[in-house]
């Protein structure tokens, strides 16, 4: 029952996103301008052929002259039947997105791996030395890590680690050789966030009775932390992963563009720069779909690892 409710909520969210993105593109832009959004779109498509007759034909062909509710229904219909087509090159929007999905997925999952690979040892270290100078120093680093904007970090890493030091590739196609720097860019902020989250979770768990019991049985502090405390500290962190996923997607947009990584993020930027309206709508909807799916997935995993949540 709970699961069904989650799915229903997810669908409702997607519908809401589709309405908002439609209004943002077709209704809002007319305010403060002497031009209707449909005319602006037709003008972009017409390019050098922007005479009255052509503009009228373009609007008729694309249904841009119909009332807004009709246009919305057409848009949803096209999206559901995978008939949404790019204004620029005629690509089927969701097929184009799907073709780029593996590149983005590879980058996103590597970034999440970077989160955990950095965050877990750091959190164990700071929990062990809580309150000591090393903990305070790491705290400072984490605040910096969380605060750095991705687009700036991306350029810094690209320039210093890639271009100057030549340690990693500066970017290019979506392949393993080009993966380290974009993954690190996306991973650092999340790692800093997770290091703090795990740290406070660990501190909380360490005060619980079963830890005292473990200590009483003569286990070393390392075993207590790594084996007993960490497991329970990780559970709440899974829940946060769903939310963290949305900010990961936002970071992907800049990161992919800067490193020339041909994924969905760079597709989103290109579609905005080209004013390719169907592609903009497609990338926004698909991102919303990913966030909703990630949240449902996290919910399911959470139920598996923490039996207390099951009803």
């Amino acid at each position: 029952m709970q699961i069904l409710k989650k799915f229903a909520q997810g669908l409702l969210t997607l519908w809401g996103v589709s309405v908002v993105i439609f209004l943002l593109l077709f209704w809002v832009p007319q305010f403060g301008k002497d031009q209707k959004p449909a005319d602006a779109i037709a003008l972009t498509i017409a390019g050098a052929r922007a005479d009255e007759e052509n503009l009228k034909n373009i609007k008729r062909d694309l249904g841009l002259d119909r009332p807004l509710p009709v246009q919305y229904v057409n848009f949803v219909g096209a999206a559901l039947t995978n008939n949404l087509k790019s204004y620029r090159n005629g690509d089927i929007v969701f097929s184009a997105i799907w073709r780029r999905f593996p590149a983005t997925a590879l980058l996103a999952f590597t970034a999440i791996a970077v989160y955990l690979v950095i965050a877990i040892p750091v959190a164990l270290l700071t929990a062990k030395h809580a309150g000591k100078p090393i903990d305070r120093f790491v705290l400072l680093l984490c605040i910096v890590g969380i605060s750095i904007p991705t687009f700036w970090l991306a350029r810094l890493l690209q320039h210093y680690l890639g271009y100057e030091a030549g340690l990693f590739s500066v970017g290019g196609g979506a392949n393993l050789a080009n993966l380290p720097l974009p993954a690190l860019t996306l991973g650092i902020g999340g790692a800093a966030f997770y290091a703090r989250l795990l740290h406070s979770n660990l501190r909380g768990v360490m005060r619980l009775d079963y830890i005292r019991a473990a200590r009483a049985r003569g286990l070393s502090e390392g075993q207590v932390l790594g084996k007993h405390a960490l497991k329970n500290a990780l559970i709440p962190a899974i829940a946060v992963l769903g939310m963290e996923f949305a900010s990961l997607l936002a970071g992907l947009i800049f990161t992919e563009k800067i490193f020339g990584w041909p994924g969905i993020g760079s597709l989103a930027i290109d579609s905005v720069l080209n004013q390719d309206v169907p592609m903009i709508m497609g990338t926004v909807l698909f991102s919303a779909f990913l966030v909703v799916t990630a949240n449902i997935a996290v919910d399911l995993v959470y139920r598996l690892v923490d039996p207390r949540v099951r009803v």
Binding site: N175, G260, P262, S266
Partner: protein, 527 residues
């Protein structure tokens, strides 16, 4: 699946390039942006082409004759040429290409280049009718007496007709193949089949595009490359890093960020690997000649004297030539003796006094496009220059499409001052003067003559030049027209851009061309 192209190690015979934006189409009938034209031309070929000196040379036509009245062109087509799909090239493929391009369904940007062919306008009108009412089989003025002969009849003589035929709009497309694609609902853009030196291997929109050598290209020993790998979505800074690391072979740095550009330009080893040539464009500020104060020639001349062009060139780190007139250097008919305007605020003030101009209270809006970052700086610079002589201007940034619409609208709803650029369709002076300064290109909307300038003397000179087939005489006529245009100053003559390209030492062959942004068939990548 994940592997893109760039970043492959250097390999003889493989050219690796990267650019920011993708082609919008590979259909020669629709290719009208620089990138689309570049690829359409290596996949397809036409009757004629341009050589390194911007002269029209034979391509798929072996020779041609022009009737004494200049109205009939007869082409002999090369024997034994085949399309990538194996179809034998026939004169009818050229006729089909032009008929298809003129069909309003194709929505080509090239129709205006071919409406001088007898029957072309009737063809367009016929195709606008519902299918059942369409009567015409072919355009009356294009005849195919046999597979290797093609005849064009024109309504009036046109000195640029050969140049028009060198544009991808007129390149041969295999007629049966295209008809079959149409039936299957597929596009030619996605399934190209031409006679060009390269074939398409793979094209992922906004991702990458791979060309492979066409082993059956009619010209022996060409192309020298086995493969051309282009990656899209690579920003200017990343392009230059990849170049410096040896991961790209040829790179256009015309619009690279100034620090990146200067790093390459001023330091070896790159310094000596940079080449440059005129882009064949004209950047100008259109003044609306029909609305006060710019309906007065003295005010327009004053504006030209008031503006410091050197400063604007500085924003582009000097990648320009200051404009003395309309034609860029390197263009046939370019007049090196033209003096143009220099920065002289005193002279400007004097002219404004003579015109009885008193400093304006309500600011005149000056529009500039947000496409290139230097425009904003240039607009501020011009605003300050004009303020110094008493003309108050308000600067307004606009998206490119909005600016084009505003600047092309006649009357008070249009622009009064706007930054514009014109890039050649082909290297011929008519392609600058006729669209920008002929009264015939004044329209109510989408006007190409954006200063709404009319001068009967200039109109007559341009009309005569378009009919004159003797090139030397034509160029004299254009020089006279240009002199008059500079005298009337309908626009502010800013500058002509300069193309800059860097190559790796292992790349051989020309990297710059007066017409095409790349001539891959002439490049080689050595060990």
């Amino acid at each position: 699946m994940l592997v893109g192209c760039a970043q492959t190690p250097r390999e003889a015979g493989v050219l690796r390039v990267a650019q920011e934006s993708d082609a919008s189409t590979l259909d020669p009938a629709k290719a009208y942006d620089t990138t689309s034209i570049k690829f359409a031309r290596v996949l397809y070929r036409g009757l004629v082409d341009f050589d390194q000196n911007a002269r029209v040379i034979p391509e798929l036509a072996t020779r041609w004759t022009i009737s004494p009245d200049g109205k009939t062109y007869t082409f002999q087509i090369r024997d034994g040429v085949r399309f990538h799909g194996g179809e034998k090239l026939s004169s009818r493929d050229f006729r089909f290409a032009i008929e298809r391009m003129l069909d309003p369904k194709t929505a080509s940007d090239g129709t205006s280049f071919f409406t001088n062919i007898v029957g072309a306008k009737d063809w367009i009108a016929d195709k606008e009718k519902p299918l059942a009412q369409q009567k015409l089989q072919n355009i009356a003025g294009i005849e195919c007496p046999d597979d290797s002969t093609l005849v064009f009849r024109l309504e009036k003589p046109e000195a640029t007709f050969l140049a028009n035929l060198a544009l991808p709009f007129a390149y041969a497309v295999p007629r049966e193949y295209v008809r079959a694609l149409d039936k299957e609902g597929k596009t030619l853009s996605q399934n190209p089949n031409g006679t060009g030196p390269f074939r398409l291997k793979e094209w992922v929109h906004d991702g990458w595009l791979t060309l492979v050598k066409n082993p059956d290209y009619y010209r022996a020993g060409v192309p020298k490359l086995e493969r051309v790998e282009t990656q899209f979505g690579v920003g200017s800074t990343l392009q230059i890093m990849l170049l410096e690391q040896g991961n790209l072979d040829v790179q256009d740095i015309t619009s690279a960020f100034p620090p990146d550009f200067l790093r390459l330009r001023d330091k070896e080893p790159w310094k000596s690997r940079i080449e440059h040539a005129p882009m064949m464009d004209f950047r100008y500020i259109a003044m609306n000649n029909e609305i006060a104060p710019f309906n007065d020639k003295r005010v327009r001349r004053a504006v030209n004297f008031a503006i410091n062009r050197e400063r604007i060139a500085g924003f582009l780190t000097g990648r320009v030539t200051l404009a003395k007139g309309v034609l860029p250097p390197g263009m046939p008919g370019f007049n090196p003796q033209l003096r143009g305007f220099s920065y002289n605020p005193q002279r400007a003030k004097q002219l404004l006094r003579e015109a009885g101009f008193s400093p304006n209270k309500t600011q005149i809006p000056m529009l500039y496009p947000t496409t290139e970052p230097w425009y904003a700086k240039a607009a501020q610079s011009v605003q300050a220059d004009l303020k110094a002589v008493g003309i108050a201007v308000d600067i307004v940034p606009l998206r490119f499409g909005d600016l084009r619409a505003k600047a092309g609208t006649r009357g008070p709803n249009g622009a009064r001052l706007s930054f514009n650029g014109w890039l050649q369709d082909y290297p011929d002076p008519s392609n600058f003067f006729d669209p920008l300064f002929s009264s015939r290109s004044i329209k109510k909307t989408a006007s190409l003559n954006r200063s709404f300038y009319q001068n009967p003397t200039v109109d007559t000179l341009l009309e005569t030049a378009l009919r004159e087939t003797n090139q030397a005489k034509r160029h004299e006529l254009y020089r006279a027209a240009e002199k008059q245009i500079v005298e009337d100053a309908p626009v502010v003559f800013l500058h002509h851009s300069e193309n800059y390209v860097v190559r790796q030492p292992w790349v051989e062959g020309p990297v710059l061309h007066p017409m095409w942004s790349a001539v891959y068939e002439q490049l080689a990548v050595t060990e």
